[in-house]
């Protein structure tokens, strides 16, 4: 009924469309899987169901809470309302210190205990993660 050219073009458009839809789907899917949510210790306390997704926790390193051992370091992240214990073994950024802002990435063991797999390095001593600033400001 239709010429060969029209058919060809039709298939071409169909191909382009399906590739497009497929790639959008792929992007969204992997976005959903790989997004890391950011929470403050208070927000962690309010989590209803614990899952094994990776999250980030930000706040201040509580004064006199750092304990360094041979193969791990323990400390407490606080937002001055609630706090959470963190265990970590890995690279510690230079600007990590007591009383300063920190962001830890990892997995929640329970609402009080966090196993960090990464502590984020910040480049500037005046820098405070905006999330931390916001959660400290609420006080």
């Amino acid at each position: 009924m239709y010429g060969r050219k029209v058919k060809l073009r039709f298939f071409f458009i169909l191909l382009v469309l399906s590739v497009l839809i497929l790639s959008v789907f792929l992007v969204l899917k992997s976005l959903e899987e790989n997004v890391v949510y950011f929470k403050s210790p208070s927000e962690v306390k309010m989590i209803k169901e614990l899952n094994d997704k990776k999250i980030r926790i930000g706040g201040m390193v509580k004064k006199e809470s750092v304990e360094m051992l041979k193969n791990e370091i323990n400390f407490i992240i606080t937002d001055l309302k609630n706090e959470i214990k963190v265990t970590y073994s890995g690279v510690i950024p230079n600007l990590f210190s007591e009383g300063k802002g920190v962001v830890a990435e990892g997995f929640l063991k329970d609402r009080n205990f966090f196993q960090a797999s990464k502590i984020l390095a910040k480049h500037d001593e005046n820098y405070m993660p905006p999330e931390v600033k916001a959660s400290l400001k609420e006080k």
Partner: protein, 625 residues
């Protein structure tokens, strides 16, 4: 001393004033039929000169530590070495924008000189479009980020340059990167001018190509410098972290690379004009977007010198104006050329080029989504999220396979249609590459299948380009060199990824870490006083199999601003880097030690250099294929 600031400020104002005669004579000259008015060139030169003087004024203020200047006060300190006083000029928001402006002016001036034999009105229009950008940046600079603001009373000491910026690679990283970023402004202006006049042709493409190549080379080198710096200064032992700030430079690079290929097609075959126009617009828009994201404080990084919503708003509105203008020009003036030869067979150079263009556009969208989505989500739902490397790896790596294969195939095929039976060797090489890759990867990796295919595809490109060097007499040498560099680049990254290993441990002075393979001994810690910092050097002895290595990482405590930085110690050889960093936590005896063995690290840098070398050679060669 204050005189330099004053000179700088007034020449900046005068520089802005120069835009009026340039625009006036351009419009006047546009209407009559004479040759290009030399006044346009003269006033452009004057404008450039004034901006240079202004920039020199700022440099001098830095050199003489004139703390009555706010920019100097915020970013300099008397105890800094002279070199870092000078580089501090562009190590901050205001100074770096002045540099932007300088490069904008420099490029349009070079354009005017170098485009003598092109259509007069095309040159004038390019100047006009470029002036819109220049005026925008002048106003932005003077209004929201004046580098010559006064501080009164004059402080006796400055706040100092962020120590991690006190580094040779980072000293030249911004100027080089800017030459690439801002080079895209000329691409933008001249593409719009050519569209308006319907001047897009082979002659135009030949001329236009030079600008694309120049920006591309500088952008490539600029990104390379940034990566090298991140590798040794940030101490994470990687060179690319999919940080939004890095992505922001990768996006224009991807657009520019695609544009480069389209322009080459345009030059040879007079097709893909719409691609060229749209990509020219997007390259510059993405560069501007990058500036916006980085400067507005939306993204947090070392590049965010000072976050100021007003600045962000200005760039954003300016960006919208530019996008609006370019859309207007594109839809009103662009007539698709009826003579364009659109038909080509599936087995041709055009097909593989187009496929790879689309793949690069896909990469670009992935990076764009990953960078923008968190900001977007924050705005609409105030949920804080971050998108990590797995997202990018998952979406980009699989598509590298066809990308590499088509990259190898494309140059082997002819325009319009190729005969299949002449190209049997292509399949033969493909089989060889995959077999070789199988034997390389077999011994190491966990995710075996994907790595084999990836290494195989990269190796395929590698072999095909090498075959071209050896066998073909008439090859497009520069293109082949860049493609060869790219294959080397991917191969080094893959092998680096597969073979890297690391040890992270906490040690006290005198202690030793031991496992089956190696031994790390923390021998001693020494203190040295330097000009503007105190250095703590750790002495480590690493025993691995039979080899012994002494490594000396350093912790630097800067006095102003008071920051601790760690300097990695890296032993580089052709085959691998040994990388060690040492960190400290206040009041703790333990030091946090990270030791990494990174194979083929040097080759990553070398291959990027080869890629850009291909571009440089392309500049000097006018006949190809």
């Amino acid at each position: 001393m204050m005189i330099y600031s004053a000179i700088g400020f007034y020449s900046l104002i005068l520089g802005l004033a120069m835009s009026f005669p340039v625009i006036f004579f351009s419009i006047k000259n546009f209407k009559d039929n004479k040759i290009l008015d030399s006044k346009i060139i003269n006033f452009s030169f004057l404008q450039l000169l004034l901006v240079i003087i202004s920039f020199l004024g700022l440099i001098m203020s830095f050199v003489f530590s004139d703390f009555s200047n706010e920019t100097v006060f915020n970013n300099s300190h008397t105890s800094e070495p002279l070199f870092y006083k000078i580089t501090g000029t562009w190590g901050n928001h205001e100074g770096s924008l002045l540099l932007w402006l300088l490069v904008l002016n420099l490029f349009i001036f070079i354009f005017l000189i170098q485009s003598r034999d092109l259509l007069k009105n095309y040159r004038i229009l390019t100047v006009l479009f470029q002036q819109i950008i220049i005026i925008g940046f002048f106003i932005f600079l003077i209004d929201t980020s004046n580098p010559f603001n006064h501080v009164f009373p004059t402080p006796s000491e400055g706040l100092g340059l962020n120590p991690i910026l006190q580094d040779p690679a980072l000293a030249i990283h911004p100027p080089i990167l800017y030459l690439g970023y801002v080079g895209s402004s000329i691409i933008f202006s001249s593409a719009l001018a050519a569209t308006t006049l319907n001047y897009i042709s082979k002659t135009w493409a030949t001329h236009f190509k030079i600008w694309v190549l120049i920006s591309w080379i500088f952008l490539t080198l600029g990104i390379l410098l940034g990566s090298i710096w991140a590798y040794y200064e940030l101490g994470w032992g990687g060179f690319w972290f999919w940080d939004p700030v890095e992505n922001v430079s990768l996006m224009p690079w991807l657009a520019l690379t695609t544009l480069l290929h389209c322009v080459l097609v345009l030059e040879k075959r007079s097709t893909l004009t719409s691609w060229v126009i749209i990509l020219s617009i997007s390259t510059f828009t993405l560069s501007m977007c990058g500036t916006f994201l980085v400067r507005s404080g939306i993204l947090n990084s070392v590049h965010t010198f000072a976050s100021d919503p007003e600045r962000g708003l200005f760039i954003l509105s300016f960006l919208f104006i530019l996008v609006f203008i370019s859309f207007f020009v594109f839809f009103v003036f662009h007539k698709s050329n009826r003579q364009e030869i659109i038909s080509f067979s599936l087995f041709s150079k055009e097909t593989s080029l187009l496929i790879n263009n689309w793949i690069m556009m896909y990469f670009l969208s992935v990076v764009l989504i990953g960078t923008i989505y968190p900001i977007f989500l924050d705005v609409i739902s105030s949920q804080k999220i971050s998108v990590g490397p797995p997202f990018y790896h998952k979406l980009i790596i699989p598509f590298l396979i066809p990308f590499l294969i088509f990259m190898a195939l494309g140059p082997q095929l002819k325009w319009i249609k190729s005969r299949f039976d002449e190209k049997i060797y292509l399949i033969f090489f493909l089989i060889i590459s995959f077999i070789t890759s199988y034997f390389i990867v077999k011994n190491f990796s966990e995710s075996f299948l994907i790595n084999t295919i990836l290494v195989g595809s990269a190796f395929y490109l590698f072999l095909i380009t090498i075959r071209d060097f050896l066998k073909k007499k008439k090859i497009n040498f520069s293109q082949n060199l860049s493609h060869f560099g790219f294959s080397l680049f991917i191969l080094s990254i893959l092998l680096n990824n597969i073979l890297s290993n690391e040890i992270i441990t906490n040690l006290r002075v005198g202690e030793t870490f031991e496992n089956e393979k190696l031994q790390i001994k923390f021998k001693e810690l020494k203190k040295y006083e330097e000009k503007n910092y105190i250095s703590f050097k750790g002495y480590f002895l690493i025993k691995e199999n039979k080899s012994k290595e002494e490594l000396e990482p350093e912790l630097r405590v800067y006095n102003q601003p008071n920051i601790v930085t760690s300097e990695a110690d890296i032993k580089t050889t052709f085959l691998k880097d040994k990388f060690i960093t040492m960190n400290t936590v206040q009041n703790e005896e333990y030091f946090n030690i990270r030791y990494q063995v990174k194979p083929f690290m040097l080759w990553i840098w070398i291959s990027v250099l080869i890629i850009s070398l291909g571009g440089i050679l392309g500049l000097f060669k006018n006949k190809s294929l």
